[in-house]
């Protein structure tokens, strides 16, 4: 086994060399993951806010369901999406299998419950504070949802980051629906899996370090934006 130092050295070597293959793979990873997180937030934030802010029959069941779905096994999601998109499946005619779009769909299914469940918690706490005032002002359901989401925006950035973390580190689903095709659907995690199966453990670990650094940069950037915006505008 190689030392951790040499793995780090190889990781930084990869980054500094700006190897075109690596850049392509990192770019696709980001494109797929960020798209999935964006779509998940568009669905999950309003959904989670509605569950957090309103009382309706089945609310507890829905909450438990959302929380449980945070633990969806990626491989199961991958297989389900594969069966849907397969040429012999119901959506085969769309020819989406083995494309980045298929990967985005699979990751969206994985991340949406996370976005919704965590948003529900954040919004429920905030709503406890706002509910009476909203009722007094006569704010309608849509107004409530949008106001709660807007006022919880800094906490919701963390929700989005949690979704990002899940998606960017996920390999099971994108491997199945993307096929790990070189230059088409190969992303960081599937590359790591491939290099591991080739026995290139040091390269695999170095790529893992690159992924970690990438994740670190994005988290730091979001937190910096959050901090600045919070200081500059609102508390």
């Amino acid at each position: 086994m190689d030392s951790f130092g040499s793995i780090l050295a190889e990781a930084f070597g990869l980054i500094l060399a700006l190897d075109p293959d690596l850049v392509e793979i990192v770019g696709l990873s980001l494109k797929v993951t960020l798209s999935a997180v964006a779509i998940s937030c568009l669905i999950g934030l309003p959904l989670g806010a509605a569950v957090g802010a309103f009382r309706f029959p089945g609310r507890i069941v829905l909450t438990v369901l959302l929380n449980a779905m945070m633990g969806l096994p990626p491989v199961v999601v991958g297989l389900t999406v594969y069966l849907m998109l397969s040429a012999s499946g119901p959506f085969g005619a769309l020819a989406l299998l083995y494309t980045p779009t298929a990967m985005i769909i699979a990751q969206t299914i994985l991340v949406t419950p996370i976005a919704a469940a965590l948003t529900r918690q954040v919004v429920e706490d905030l709503n406890r504070e706002y509910a009476e005032q909203f009722a007094s002002l006569g704010v309608g359901p849509l107004g409530r949802i949008s106001a709660l989401l807007r006022d919880a925006r800094f906490s919701l950035l963390t929700v989005a980051l949690a979704g990002f973390g899940r998606a960017v580190a996920e390999v099971g689903a994108v491997m199945i629906v993307g096929g790990n095709i070189n230059h088409v659907t190969r992303v960081m995690t599937t590359t790591i899996a491939l290099e591991t199966s080739k026995g290139n453990l040091q390269l695999a670990l170095a790529l893992g370090v690159v992924l970690l650094i990438l994740s670190l940069i994005i988290n730091a950037a979001v937190m910096a934006v959050r901090g600045t915006a919070q200081r500059a505008a609102y508390v």
């Binding site: 504070e129 009722a135 002002l137 704010v139 107004g143 505008a233």
Partner: protein
Amino acid sequence: MFEAQTNTTSTDAARVPTPLLQTRSLGFEAGGQRLIDTVDVDIRTGRRTVIMGANGAGKSLLLRLLHGLIRPSAGQVLWQGRPLDRAGRYAQAMVFQRPVLLRRSVLANLSFALSARGIRGRERKRRIEIAMHQARLTALAYRPARVLSGGEQQRLAIARALACGPEILFLDEPTASLDPASIHAVEELIAQAHANGVTIVLVTHDLGQARRLGDDLIFLHGGRVVETGPAATVLDNPKSGPAKAWTEGRLFFESDPWNRSQRLGDRS
């Protein structure tokens, strides 16, 4: 236990025009306890009514029932002689003990409340300017509401309520945690609103404030109305045992039923 005094207000009501707000045998129960018990009160147009009572008497709860924030378990609330509905609620506004402000600027807080009432464009801008001017917040328009001082926050909350143009304003111990200068500023705002024709219903613990701001007084004890009448009369010469004990500083309870019912999760 103390017995409720004869309810003078309801006999008066037969001779005067329909009160702005009335309750009929109003009751509220939570966790098997009767927190508001057969309350019949009239709030008259243009008057300033003060609700007093010890902690746990049900003052905040009654205010929320009057405003329609919670549904009564018995009896009803009448707005201008008819059951309180959405339109009636829109003619009311409420200020809470601790101001609930959005995590936005002073201006955005005012703007949000007006938008919720469907007031937009030039009219919204005009009302915001008037509200900020009255509450002396114009210089703070773009400040985040959450960093204002306690007094400024409460002034903003009142300005926001008044900007909606209510016929009645409910205030739940609005000065409970403020310094004297801030209390003065808040009382000034309330007086100004009253001068502009807004009916005032105020819950307070402060005897001096009750004298300064109250025309009528409702005294609650154990969820029941034990005494009503002109504020000065009741405060100077309380007839009921609880009101007498209260004004003399001998009456207190440990818990407030409203807070208790909140903890029990019985809010509707």
